[in-house]
């Protein structure tokens, strides 16, 4: 197994490098801002879903409350910038660290919970944060935070019309999230998680180390998700609690990984590439009817894909991945 595993990893890295290089060239040919906007969102969701996949896919702790970390990242950056003039780059790191710490503080009691109890705990924690932000006057409460845009600047990471800087940042974030996952797959943590999944009894004997590795996964996952949130705040230049901490958002982050293949290296990327353009196009081109047809199309596809390919769409591309899917 070792040689083929190592070979596969090397091949994955090469494929990823090629795909990233191709993706980086796409904006040279696609000038339409609407399409570029979809590409930015696709990359952002690929990164978010990849981060989510670390905790929920590899580690098996299904979180439907990742909007919490996303929102914390967005709010930290926006608040630091609008209240104290701190550049978003520092806000990004700050938001990521805050989220990582909170993820560990929450993980400590929550990792004792199993199955649906854990899932519901993640949902209500995120909902609680949403309500607190909705009522927190200093942070803008329901009014949200409008980030003033005064011209193009890399320092302030804001650009009036061009999507390219956002595109390359999102591409970079997606690559980082992918690389972290790639690296984790072959790390000590990765081995423990696989061992626990293959043989739940082994979890008992590995007890403490596994618990610690889960805490680590939560921290890494929350950090990357928060950076995504900071990015979103800069990209949209307006945030409010509903649009960055809503429950829908937690689901949207999980969906690409689930459809693409949960607990796989390529699942989130593949899922995002299919799902996000689909979401955007159905809304833009059939949502204008006001009859809910976009919802019907979108929902049906989710049902069909999740039923037809429970192990995710990556399975279509490689039969050999099955062992990793598990």
């Amino acid at each position: 197994m070792d040689t083929s595993f190592a070979q596969r990893r090397r091949r994955d890295l090469i494929v990823a490098g090629c795909l990233a290089a191709i993706a980086a060239l796409v904006p040279l040919f696609v000038k339409d801002v609407y399409v570029q906007n979809i590409m930015v969102l696709t990359l952002m969701y690929a990164a978010l879903s990849q981060s989510w996949n670390i905790l929920s896919g590899y580690c098996g702790q299904i979180s439907l409350g990742h909007a919490l970390y996303f929102g914390l990242g967005a709010y930290t950056t926006a608040l630091l910038f609008t209240k104290f003039g701190v550049l978003p780059w520092f806000g990004m790191i700050g938001g990521g660290l805050i989220s990582a710490v909170i993820a560990m503080a929450l993980g400590y009691p929550c990792f004792r919970l199993r199955g649906h109890y854990f899932v519901i705990a993640t949902i209500v924690i995120a909902e609680t944060a949403l309500l607190l932000f909705q009522n927190w006057d200093w942070a803008g409460a329901a009014l949200g935070i409008d980030i003033p845009v005064r011209g193009d600047s890399w320092l302030k990471f804001q650009f009036t019309r061009s999507k390219l800087p956002y595109f390359y940042f999102a591409l970079g974030l997606a690559c980082v999230a992918w690389l972290v996952t790639w690296w984790l797959e072959d790390s000590k943590w990765g081995y423990w998680w696989r061992a626990v999944k293959d043989n739940p009894d082994a979890a008992e004997s590995l007890g403490v180390v596994v618990f610690n590795s889960k805490m680590g996964a939560a921290a890494v996952s929350a950090f990357l998700t928060a950076v995504g949130g900071s990015f979103y705040a800069q990209f949209v230049s307006y945030i409010d609690p509903e649009s960055v901490m809503g429950f829908q958002f937690s689901l949207l982050m999980a969906l690409p990984a689930v459809l693409g293949g949960i607990g796989t290296l390529w699942g989130p990327v593949l899922g995002a590439v299919i799902l996000i353009p689909l979401t955007e196009l159905t809304r833009s081109f059939i949502g204008g009817s006001g009859r809910g047809v976009d919802l019907i199309v979108y929902g049906t596809l989710i049902v069909l894909i999740s039923l037809a390919r429970p192990q995710g769409l990556v399975g279509l591309f490689s039969g050999r991945r099955k062992e990793a899917v598990r």
């Binding site: 696609v30 339409d32 801002v33 609407y34 399409v35 906007n37 979809i38 969102l41 309500l131 909705q134 009522n135 409460a141 329901a142 009014l143 949200g144 409008d146 003033p148 845009v149 009036t160 019309r161 979103y232 949209v236 230049s237 307006y238 945030i239 409010d240 509903e242 649009s243 353009p277 689909l278 955007e280 196009l281 159905t282 809304r283 833009s284 081109f285 059939i286 949502g287 204008g288 009817s289 006001g290 009859r291 809910g292 047809v293 976009d294 919802l295 199309v297 596809l301």
Partner: protein, 414 residues
């Protein structure tokens, strides 16, 4: 955009390369983008808005004998009779989606102006995008006062905002007090969204300035499964006036819960929203005799201006509803925008903006009780006088200000 199998197939399978084809249309039209929630929790508003905008477009594009800008000719004479064509987009109440749709309308559909958005949070991002592309944005029915104070050059709002609306309510209270009515204590009841928060803040400020005592200031979660705890607190406060800022869903639940808990308020003066929706009166109208709501529109204007009645009939044929506070503002937004485009004689954003800045439409040439339409340097029309309407015998009558009133206020409620 009508739904056809082709659209469905396009949406589901179109690759990015196909998009420009779907978007292409006749070039001689003046294309205006309209962004509303067409699916999700507030889809009803968006669907009604479509009908209202279509009514306005029909009046502009065909000949009608109304004393309304652009009604008498066909299309826009300033642009050689070009027709107004509307492109609708769905923002699903999400600021990010509103922003993406605005960008799509500007870059792909080549719209020369955008009108929207119902939700104030979405107006924030849509107006930002319009500013970036130098395309005028008209806030048809957003009433959050913070919107026009952001230093945007391409932002215009012909209708009143919540501070103007709330000021009218307090003017009314002052006038009633002079007549000897006891109005000392107020209970504020508002949802936890931008609309509710802004409205609650404005009312709290005015109450303090004018010496009214706020005995309950209840902020509640929008679309709650139950409002009994909230109503219990309002009931305990027993104020002279209850002032709700609620959308239809919570409005219905509020009125029902008040009845269930045996609370009959002395008077209700509502911040519009749900309290001007037909659905609310269909549901609980029997409990709302003599409720007062602020508004920017009143059907009894039809007595003075017959065209209001005719236009209402046109809208009703499409939607099955009477024009209300929202649909009337939406209607006027398209008229005001098209009037400016006509004078600009161009679809260039800067030229339209200049024309909008110079807009001066007398109130008589609108379907609203406004003095006139003229924008200040922040893009706000300060001459859009709000009115207070009272629900009496199954319909609304104007009771304030005196120059627009057709009836005396019934006070207290039965």
């Amino acid at each position: 955009m009508t739904i056809s199998r082709r659209n469905v197939l396009l949406g589901a399978t179109a690759s990015a390369a196909l998009l420009p084809m779907a978007a292409r249309a006749q070039t001689s039209d003046v294309v205006i983008g309209v962004i509303y929630p067409l699916s999700g929790a507030s889809a009803q508003i968006g669907v009604d808005a479509q009908k209202s905008f279509e009514t306005a477009a029909e009046i502009i594009n065909k000949k009608y004998d109304f004393d309304l800008p652009l009604a008498r000719g066909e299309g826009l004479p300033g642009l050689g009779g070009a027709k107004v064509r509307l492109v609708f987009a769905d923002h699903q109440a999400d600021p990010q989606k509103g922003r993406a749709e605005a960008e799509r309308l500007i870059t792909q559909e080549k719209v020369c102006a955008i009108i929207g958005t119902y939700q104030s949070a979405v107006a924030v991002t849509v107006s930002q995008i319009c500013e970036r592309y130098q395309i005028p944005f008209m806030s048809a029915d957003n009433s959050s006062p913070s919107l026009h104070r952001r230093g945007l050059k391409f932002y215009f709002r012909p209708a009143p905002h919540d501070e103007m609306f709330s000021a009218a309510m307090f003017d009314f209270f002052d006038a009633m007090k002079k007549k000897g009515t006891k109005i000392e204590t107020l209970a504020l009841f508002h949802e936890d969204t931008i609309f509710g928060t802004d409205s609650g803040n404005a009312q709290l400020k005015l109450a303090n300035e004018r010496g009214y005592k706020v005995v309950a200031d209840i902020k509640y979660r929008a679309n709650s499964p139950s409002l009994s705890a909230e109503v219990q607190q309002i009931k305990a406060a027993s104020a002279d006036v209850l002032m709700p800022s609620s959308y239809t869903t919570d409005g219905i639940l509020l009125v029902k819960t008040m009845a269930e808990l045996g609370y009959k308020p002395n008077a209700i003066v509502a911040q519009d929203a749900g309290f001007s929706e037909k659905a609310l009166y269909d549901a609980v109208g029997d409990k709302l005799e003599a409720v007062i709501s602020r508004g920017s529109f009143s059907l009894d204007l039809a007595a003075k201006r017959p065209m209001v009645g005719t236009i209402n009939a046109m809208f009703k044929e499409k939607s099955g509803k009477d024009l209300n506070d929202f649909s009337s503002r939406q209607f006027m937004a398209l008229i005001v925008m098209s009037e400016a485009i006509n004078r600009a004689k161009s679809v260039d954003g800067d030229k339209i903006r200049e024309a909008l800045v110079a807009t001066d439409i007398p109130g008589a040439q609108t379907i609203m009780p406004w003095k006139r339409v003229k924008f200040d340097d922040m893009g706000q029309n300060n001459d859009a006088d709000p009115v207070l309407l009272q629900y009496v015998g199954g319909k609304f009558v104007t009771i304030f200000p005196p120059q627009a009133a057709v009836a005396e206020a019934v006070w207290p409620m039965k």
